[in-house]
Symmetry: C2
Subunit: 132 residues, 2 copies
């Protein structure tokens, strides 16, 4: 199991549930965006045992804290997460409520000229809303 060490190194016990969630999240051809509900469905369809919704929330938040997942700032009634944790930006298709990755080369470098006293920049995120 390739995720056992990853979890141990993060101080997270490699439980059956966490390992299964790892497989659903990270054993994929490409990264993807998801809500908790979508992840719950994906887990249901890929594994036989049940994982409680509370555990899914707990695990997603634990992984986010460890930097294995990112939250995407977007106005929605559900929180969106991203398995692509590199710095990148997004299209948001308003009609289909779908996020699409933008490469940094699609956006170009962003240089924030203004400084706020005593604060430093943690992240810069661009959201490009799309309509028909």
């Amino acid at each position: 199991m390739k995720y056992i060490e990853k979890l141990r190194n993060s101080g997270l016990r490699p439980t059956k549930q966490r390992l299964q969630i790892c497989e659903v999240l990270f054993d994929t051809e490409s990264t993807f965006h998801f809500t908790i509900n979508q992840l719950e469905q994906r887990i249901k369809s890929k594994i036989d045992n049940k994982i409680s919704l509370a555990t899914i929330y707990n695990t997603v938040h634990a992984f986010e804290k460890k930097g294995y997942l990112k939250q995407i700032p977007i106005n929605s009634n559900q929180t969106y997460f991203d398995t692509n944790v590199t710095d990148h930006h997004h299209f948001y298709d308003l009609k289909n409520e779908k996020l699409i990755d933008l490469e940094n080369s699609d956006v170009g470098p962003i240089n924030i000229k203004r400084k706020i006293n005593g604060k430093k920049i943690k992240s810069i995120e661009v959201l490009v809303k799309l309509e028909d």
Copy 2:
């Protein structure tokens, strides 16, 4: 009353409640960011009669639809609105949960090179998260 015509021209009846909310939102030295709860408090402190929470929600959404308010894409348990409806970007101070306007000149032009078939860009929003 300077807002009566503005509302009529938008197809919104200039009710007492809407006019009072207009005053709280737009009779200000500068634009500002707010959540519904913050707006509710501000209304309470500035007017004598009561405006129901449902009306505050209705009015904010009506004004948003007419373009008098903007929603700011940010991950929070509460939705943030902006009385500054020009195209502009934001700092988000994670510790104080405060938004700060960035002028376009602080960010520079953003040129999205990638196109999505059949879609056009509705808005481009940059969120710069700040930490200590």
